[in-house]
Subunit: 167 residues, 2 copies
């Protein structure tokens, strides 16, 4: 298992799709996952620390877990099949018993950010798909550049998407 | 309490906002609630009986309840304050014990449709805001008309929105 953290939320300019970049804890490689607009919003709001008066859907999910005395022990992105990533929520009850629930990575990440739970990726999947992080020192010197240029120069997300599409 | 059911999902053409129409069980009056695009999609997909290979966020919420042996006993839209409706999920565990969870009406409805749970509205709120249903026999004869015209002629949602804005 590779423990990862959310490094960034980007937009794939080829199709305007949000991409969440997960960075490995043991190295600087990142793994992109294309997600839906709604889930990107849920992740983005949490990354920004935005607070709303009323609970959004993932906040409600957290409320349900809290009320039922369940903690989100971890999230595991554990499969990649037919271009689709699969994830599992591992819940832990008051007596330490665990439950596993099938989930999309996007919902898992949006929830894990709200519960400060660790996110893991199956080691084989991470090794297969991870690439050098575009957020290196060189990038730090080029902050002024257009974000779109950055994406094209530093990480060809479209190419990566082609790769996963073929896998 | 007025038991209601989802009569329709409309779009308020003045601001392109989705509106869910809740019809009273004991009469033909309806109560509109303005909701977000994401939650409208979640409600719409369920009304259409669409099935997806991967669980959407409200499907995940249902999975969590199922796994934890909780049933959604009912949903109650129980408050209207500062132009905002409030709802409560009433969960019931295996021993009959109940838990109440604060929720937006939109999430509550999206979930209740997935669990076939009844939706209730506080009687006073329903009496205050409900209006004659636009889905009467006359409407049945006018199906060919443009939907936008229908909204303007049959139910001035903008006017209603102004009303709730002032309340």
């Amino acid at each position: 298992m590779e423990r990862v953290r959310v490094k960034a939320l980007l937009v794939d300019t080829s199709n305007n799709a949000p991409v969440v970049l997960l960075e490995g804890d043991s190295n600087s490689k990142v793994m992109p996952i294309w997600i839906g607009q709604n889930e990107a919003l849920a992740i983005s709001l949490q990354l920004q620390g935005s607070e709303f008066e009323r609970p959004l859907t993932h906040d409600l999910l957290k409320s349900v877990l809290d009320k039922l005395d369940q903690s989100l022990e971890r999230v595991i992105i554990d499969d990649l099949s037919n271009k689709t990533y699969y994830a599992t929520l591992v819940l832990q009850g008051p007596d330490g018993e665990t439950l596993k629930i099938d989930s999309r990575p996007s919902d898992s990440i949006a929830l894990a950010l709200r519960t400060n739970s660790p996110i893991f990726v199956d080691e084989e999947i991470f090794q297969d798909v991870a690439m050098e992080s575009p957020f290196d020192e060189e990038f730090e010197d080029e902050k002024g550049e257009e974000f779109e240029d950055f994406l094209e120069q530093k990480m060809d997300l479209r190419k990566f998407k082609d790769f996963t599409d073929d896998s």
